[in-house]
């Protein structure tokens, strides 16, 4: 197959992939879009097999493809929706590993490479290795096999700086001395990359995981694109570039949604260990502000001794409400309460109430995770609203039901300076007429900041304990 023919095929397949992504912009055509992308990928693999001289490595290639396919089928069927973040993290890591291997073998087996090819191969090696170790740490953290709290080693900054310096020096050195143990240097480069990825991922706290996963998604694409440059494979470069930009875009969206700076997440900065800022000095301020706003809404302006609502108020609250917003959080998923949420939503609709779901951009553990968890129990997507589309409606909402969400409704985000969530836009649940919070306990959420909504207000009813049990109480009274 001549290069020109391959260029044309590559262009067509790249357009196919882009068309698949375009179809992803509408939920109705999205499944078709994914299949278009998958078909293009299959075609790309077949074309590559056809244009590769398979005399020597055929057995190994078949072996690799077969083992990989079998494992994938198993993994695809086994994975639960709540585990999707760690699954994506793991897959990211494997992509990075594959790019690293492609890079080191490029240097080892392809003769007479020029400086461009050697430089890009070395870079792909490094980016792939960083993606691999960073993603594995992220996946293990999300899976609960590693501590979720940020781990900061003594001299962490220095170690990170040193490992990245080694990476940079080797990336320059490998093309400068093409024949002097390139493979050995490349292996060393891989190790430095692995160390850097590990150092960067262990210091990221649980709340920043959605951003980290998005960023690693981007680097896995970039690694593939750079490996493609080393091999002169235009299809790899094009598709890798698309993935790289998508990951970057999602990272930006996540950073905006949490009002975090990427640099601060990667290199520490404001990302101090979560338990330190307990929001103690800040708690009274938001509380005062909340009660102040309550006086406007509530008939009962008694700040000093508000009659706290109890479970006996549930029937009245649930019957009186016409407009209801449900705010689901990761706690709902942990308790596997999605089915009950669906029942509650159906019950509300049957009794003629308007029911909507408010989805915070970082609800769950990765971008869009909550939507998937709700879709799994057949909650129609037209009931799911993004934060910006629904936030203005909270003051006119009779009842907000928070289920296992904490940080995303925590008013301390507006006031508690120096805490990990300070400045993060939140769902204004506190502005609703009445609020039922079904959380496991009143401990701070993932970000480790106390929530002033728990501090006893006349319009806030706390249902503590397992979300399933709390939802049963709601269902019994709705």
């Amino acid at each position: 197959m001549s290069n020109t023919v391959y260029y044309i095929i590559s262009a067509l397949l790249s357009i196919g992939v882009l068309y698949g992504i375009k179809l992803m912009s509408d939920v109705k055509t999205a499944p078709a879009g994914n299949r278009v992308s998958a078909l293009c990928m299959l075609a790309a693999i077949v074309v590559t097999l056809l244009r590769t001289d398979l005399q020597r490595g055929l057995v190994f290639i078949i072996l690799g493809l077969a083992i990989g396919s079998l494992l994938s089928i198993f993994m695809t069927i086994k994975v639960k929706m709540i585990q999707m973040p760690q699954m994506v993290g793991l897959l990211n890591g494997l992509g990075g590993l594959a790019s690293s291997i492609a890079a080191i073998l490029t240097i080892a087996v392809i003769p007479n490479q020029n400086a461009f090819e050697l430089t890009t191969a070395a870079l792909a090696m490094a980016v792939g290795a960083i993606t691999f170790s960073g993603s594995l740490v992220a996946a293990l953290k999300l899976h609960g096999k590693m501590p979720q709290k940020p781990v900061v080693l003594p001299g962490h900054q220095l170690l990170s700086a040193f490992s990245i310096l080694v990476v940079l020096v080797l990336v320059v050195l490998i093309p400068l001395r093409p024949n002097a143990n390139s493979v050995l240097l490349c292996a060393l480069l891989g190790i430095a990359g692995l160390v850097f990825g590990w150092l960067f991922a262990i210091r990221v706290g649980g709340a920043d995981m959605p951003i980290t996963i998005s960023l690693l998604n981007s680097t896995s694409g970039v690694a593939a694109a750079i490996a493609g440059m080393a091999l002169g494979d235009v299809l790899l470069v094009a598709v890798g570039g698309i993935v790289g930009s998508s990951g970057l875009l999602l990272t930006q969206i996540m950073c905006r949604a949490m009002n975090r700076k990427l640099g601060a997440i990667l290199f520490g900065g404001a990302n101090k260990p979560a338990p330190v800022p307990k929001a103690e000095p800040a708690a009274p301020a938001p509380l005062a502000q909340e009660t102040a706003s309550d006086t406007v809404i509530e008939e009962n302006p008694e700040k000093s001794a508000p009659a706290l609502p109890t479970e006996s108020d549930l029937p009245q609250w649930l019957t009186e409400a016409r407009k209801v917003i449900i705010i689901p959080g990761y706690g709902m998923a942990l308790s596997q309460a999605q089915e009950k949420v669906k029942q509650l939503s159906d019950r509300f609709q049957q009794t003629g109430k308007q029911v909507r779901f408010a989805i915070h951009p970082v609800a769950g553990r990765m971008p869009g995770h909550m939507n998937v968890l709700l879709a799994e129990v057949d909650i129609p997507y037209d009931l799911l609203f993004e934060m910006d589309d629904i936030n203005a409606d909270f003051p006119q909402t009779d009842l907000v039901i928070v289920i296992g969400a904490n940080d995303v409704v925590n008013p301390a985000a507006n006031t508690a300076e120096g805490t990990p969530i300070y400045g993060m836009p939140i769902l204004d649940a506190g502005k609703a007429q009445r609020l039922i919070i079904c959380n496991f306990d009143t401990k701070p959420g993932y970000a480790g900041v106390d929530n002033p909504l728990y501090a006893g207000q006349a319009n806030v009813l706390l249902l503590l304990g397992d979300a399933k049990a709390s939802l049963d109480k709601l269902l019994a009274n709705a």
Partner: protein
């Protein structure tokens, strides 16, 4: 035009086009979008195939097998879970029909 420049240009164009298209994907679908993109990053499989075929030592070939396994899992599982997720999304009307 040299091959290097073509490759870099392709990278830039693909990045910009991808950015523009992905910006149009609603946040409702961000998780499947991400796992789908993830699957695409397994395109590196093409590179692994090429270098495994060229490898002339057993060590190189075994390393190639490892890379192939990793990349195939990335591709196949990535598209697989994306499909699983996307099929779950149902709209109001479709939902009523499906659930009677």
């Amino acid at each position: 035009m040299s091959r290097e420049i073509i490759l870099i240009l392709v990278f830039i164009v693909a990045t910009l086009l991808g950015y523009k298209l992905i910006n149009a994907v609603p946040s409702l679908l961000h998780t499947p979008l991400m796992s789908g993109m993830n699957a695409l990053s397994g395109i590196t499989l093409l590179g692994v195939i090429a270098v495994t075929a060229a490898a002339d030592t057993l060590l190189g070939q075994l390393l190639g097998v490892l890379g192939l396994v990793a990349a195939v899992i990335n591709v196949v599982s990535g598209f697989g879970v994306t499909d699983r997720m996307l099929r779950m999304f149902k709209g109001g009307k479709a939902h009523e029909e499906a659930g009677q």
